[in-house]
């Protein structure tokens, strides 16, 4: 085990055993340098390891802060009305439509929606905010025939974010009223590290991954009525499901 690995292991143990509780500071770099008899960058390597594990957050002028371990909300508090609920750690936030516009479907979106690549779709971008920051960025696409049906039903233009700010269940009701009631969603959830843009938008500290959700929603005939890609901050979002079991 190298020196910086040894230092990282020592500090990690001290954090997990509670010697350095959440919110407290690790010893300063010069302190650790003399304690272990190593150079500055060796200590920094060790701290970088813990930073990338999401354990600590170095702050200039302050010190290396031990991060809160994100408690995962459990227990039976969810609603039975929907099979799936997004939640953060302490209740709901605000889902806001940032933009909505027509665009040609790229190959992936076209395949998800079962339309020809390049055909017209409405692309809606939403930000789910909790407190001061953005916790999830959602990209949603709807095929032209669904948007047209909603419009002809007198419900307005889904490509107009200002006049149709609907999200989630509200949007689904619009589709249902227009004869395209969503009856099933096919969701796939995975995770990865954020790219720099996502890191900036959601103010993600180092060592925090994102939850990525891909969804295709279909109506009674099995035809897709919308597809969604959502990227959520891993330290603030979790996905919760109530599933009827068959086996």
């Amino acid at each position: 085990m190298t020196k910086h690995q040894k230092i990282a292991a020592d500090l990690r143990d001290a954090i997990t055993t509670g010697e350095y509780p959440a919110g407290s500071l690790l010893p300063a770099i010069p302190d650790l340098m003399s304690r272990y008899g190593v150079a500055r960058d060796t200590v920094r390597d060790a701290i970088a390891t813990l930073t990338n594990e999401g354990l600590v957050l170095p702050r200039r002028g302050v010190g290396t802060v031990v991060r809160e371990t994100a408690p995962v909300q459990l227990g039976y508090s969810g609603s039975r009305a929907v099979a799936r609920t997004w939640q953060d750690q302490a209740g709901a936030g605000q889902d806001e439509v940032i933009s909505a516009e027509w665009e040609p479907a790229d190959p992936e979106i076209a395949e998800r929606l079962g339309v020809e690549p390049g055909s017209r779709v409405v692309h809606r971008v939403r930000h789910f905010a909790k407190g001061s920051g953005i916790a999830q960025i959602t990209d949603q696409w709807l095929p032209e025939h669904v948007v047209t049906a909603v419009h002809e039903n007198g419900a307005g233009d889904l490509a107009d974010a200002a006049h149709r700010p609907d999200t989630g269940a509200d949007l689904f009701r619009l589709l249902a009223d227009a004869g395209h009631a969503p009856v099933e969603a096919d969701e796939t959830i995975t995770t990865r590290m954020p790219d720099p843009l996502e890191r900036e938008a959601m103010e993600l500290p180092p060592g925090v991954p994102v939850l990525v959700t891909y969804r295709i929603t279909t109506d009674g005939s099995g035809r897709p009525v919308e597809t969604t890609t959502a990227v959520g901050a891993g330290d603030r979002m979790s996905a919760r499901f109530r599933l009827p079991l068959k086996y």
Copy 2:
């Protein structure tokens, strides 16, 4: 923007634009040193950034390899028989029971199962393997009354991994036969970086987070029959759901 940030940004762009496709090598460190006129550690800082983003994987004696971008499997290939399926990128793997033993319930498990802390529960550990490596580690706990019911039903001892290696749907059938049919699962999915033990067990490269699933399964009376915590490799696992919609 600092020098190492600039270098990282340049390399990231080159990767995403396809100049360095997956599997290819980045320029060697001495090469980048002379190209940018910087010291070795400055280049290493830049490469460390990309490593922690999951983009590259430095290999001694070889070079800095551009990683495959994990393609997410989409489309309608899942079974309707169960509402949720775990899958890796190319089919199913092997779920093996590593251990099964009685232990006193710690406070969290006791709360999930609705039993007294310290009461006897069976703790089963499973490894889900795909190819050569472990893709998911599952910890499962069952309350004493359920284990007893299965045993009295003549189905053997769930604390005996060798004789009761059942997982997933097979295990659920045992519970159902013993009068504790699971009818609903409450799942919460989140993500975080792995700890060193998880990283070693699942052979996780740097920059790969884990998917964490918490589940409580209940029978027809709403009483928990098992609870599970699963940790899956973010680059090999995704969770897929088919959800009936209500709104």
